[in-house]
């Protein structure tokens, strides 16, 4: 396995009194696509928020390209080249489609992605560029969310629930675009409810249960039983 681009050890996270992550260990290799699965509330979103600096990490270490980033703010993490496509799309409602994309470009790292490339990837967005982002359909909004993250030319992109709430056809479109996105050597972490999809695009998979890693393995090699045991904790 090549040198990990991201290494997490003993990561915990709290919402007030409630502990959502308990000492999570994880690694992402350069250029790989990693899948994270787990039931509702398992802590997947919490993990991605911790990685991107949106939550303070009281315990544990996050190392990105050899640099400890656990204490950095989200904007500083973004500047280092980690981008998050958040759960539920979370576009800026008072910005137009193009403004949403341009906000993403603020991080301003060198790389292949720019407005043109994003419009090439999702041509429909060019048609809707001046529209309020809220007036788009769910799938188009997801495209904007992905495009917005790409605009910062990240080295590591995190997708939270990439297909949640989208019609099957749109899910197909998005997954079809995925190779084009991560193709250029970008590493990716994908949180996905649809286990089959998750396994099909990733090289390795982690399963979270109740804030702990309950399974880690190669996507091609883990068995259905292992997954369902890890997923539901069924002994």
């Amino acid at each position: 396995m090549p040198e990990p681009i991201l290494k997490i050890s003993k990561l915990s996270a709290h919402y007030g009194d409630f502990q959502a992550l308990y000492g999570v260990d994880m690694e992402v290799a350069e250029g790989e696509v990693l899948a994270i699965i787990g039931a509702n509330g398992a802590g997947k979103t919490t993990l991605l928020r911790s990685l991107s600096g949106l939550m303070s990490n009281e315990a544990g270490q996050i190392t990105y390209r050899g640099q400890a980033i656990g204490a950095l703010r989200a904007d500083q993490v973004a500047a280092l080249g980690i981008a998050l496509v958040p759960e539920g799309r979370q576009l800026f409602p008072s910005l137009t489609v193009e403004e949403n994309l341009m906000i993403g470009g603020r991080v301003n790292r060198a790389g292949p992605w720019n407005l043109h490339k994003v419009y090439d990837l999702f041509p429909i967005l060019q048609e809707r560029r001046g529209q309020a982002s809220t007036s788009l359909s769910g799938g188009q909004q997801q495209m904007v969310a992905i495009g917005r993250a790409l605009m910062s030319n990240p080295d590591l992109i995190l997708f939270d629930e990439i297909s949640l709430g989208l019609a099957p056809i749109i899910i197909k479109d998005i997954y079809a675009a995925l190779p084009g996105i991560v193709g250029g050597g970008m590493s990716a972490v994908i949180v996905e409810q649809d286990i089959t999809k998750a396994l099909s695009v990733s090289s390795r998979v982690y399963c979270l249960q109740e804030g702990r890693v309950s399974l880690e393995g190669g996507s091609a090699t883990v068995s259905r039983e292992e997954i369902s045991r890890a997923y539901f904790g069924i002994a």
Partner: protein, 287 residues
């Protein structure tokens, strides 16, 4: 004719209120910050202007060149040093902290400048007037109104046509996600406060030319500012101008009926509007 005069004078007065309110509207819109110290900051700007005119011997309007950057700097430092830490879902921390600031500013001004009423001398500008259709319009109120319109147009343009404006809107929509886009919200908030206090500087200078001021008059002006913001609707700058004008006209028309009703009728207009439209007249549509 007298009624028309009342309405016209009220509209011009509304310009002054809109100037008080524009800065409030900006920070209320961007970071939901209820700034109790805003009125005192306006008065502080007036004192800075006074000092500049006395020390440098310049016209109050020229003093803007000094006061605007000074207030902007103070705003940035204030926001990053203190106010950023009070932001969140809870209304109380910013309320109490800005109340504390208000008390401190008021009393510091009192220590520094005494309680004597002061006024800035703008020479002929104060008394000049032009006659339009039988109405006598003071140049100063007309200028105030024009500046208010210009400030609001400028803010509006900045808000919707510049990268900074985009950043303001993004942070106000969703702070977390904006951070993910590389925006440092603390810096953005600092800039918003700097901009708000730059507007405050203009408001303070015009207030200081229009009337005499002392360290205690901020509070009374603050409430008009809030009213204008709320009447206009959250985050809508043109709405804020409309709110100011509605207040001004309500006051002068009320005063026409009975001078005792001047301030009261402004407040009543505010309450009536809210009774009918609790979101204000022109709330920004949000998704």
């Amino acid at each position: 004719m007298e009624w028309l005069n009342a309405v016209v004078q009220g509209t011009l007065l509304g310009g002054l209120y809109a100037l008080f309110a524009a800065g409030l509207s900006l920070i209320f819109g961007v970071m939901r910050l209820v700034n109790i110290a805003h009125g005192d900051l306006i008065v502080m700007a007036a004192y800075l202007g006074l000092t500049a005119t006395v020390v440098l011997g310049i016209h109050p309007l020229v003093a803007l060149i000094v006061v605007i950057p000074a207030m902007a700097g103070i705003g940035y430092v204030l926001q990053r040093g203190i106010l950023n830490r009070t932001l969140g879902d809870d209304l109380l921390p910013p309320l109490l902290v800005t109340f504390g600031l208000s008390v401190i500013i008021q009393n510091a001004l009192l220590e520094g400048y005494t309680a004597d009423p002061q006024k800035m001398n703008a020479g002929a500008l104060e008394t000049a007037s032009l006659s339009v259709g039988g109405l006598s319009l003071g140049i100063l109120p007309v200028l105030t109104f024009a500046v208010a319109v210009a400030v609001i147009a400028g803010l509006q343009w900045m808000f919707y046509h510049t990268a900074l404006g985009r950043a303001f809107r993004a942070v106000s929509d969703n702070q977390d996600i904006a951070q993910l886009m590389g925006l440092n919200k603390r810096h953005i908030f600092g800039l918003a406060m700097a901009l708000a206090l730059a507007v405050t500087a203009i408001a303070g200078i015009f207030l200081g030319i229009r009337t005499s001021f002392d360290p205690s008059i901020g509070g009374g002006r603050l409430i008009f500012g809030f009213e204008a913001v709320i009447i206009g609707g959250l985050g809508n700058l043109w709405g804020t101008l409309a709110g100011g004008v509605i207040l001004g006209v309500a006051q002068t028309v009320g005063a026409k009926i009975d001078p005792g009703w001047q301030v009261l009728s402004g407040h009543i207009a505010f309450l009536l509007i809210l009774a009918v439209r609790p979101q204000g007249l022109f709330p920004r549509v949000s998704g």
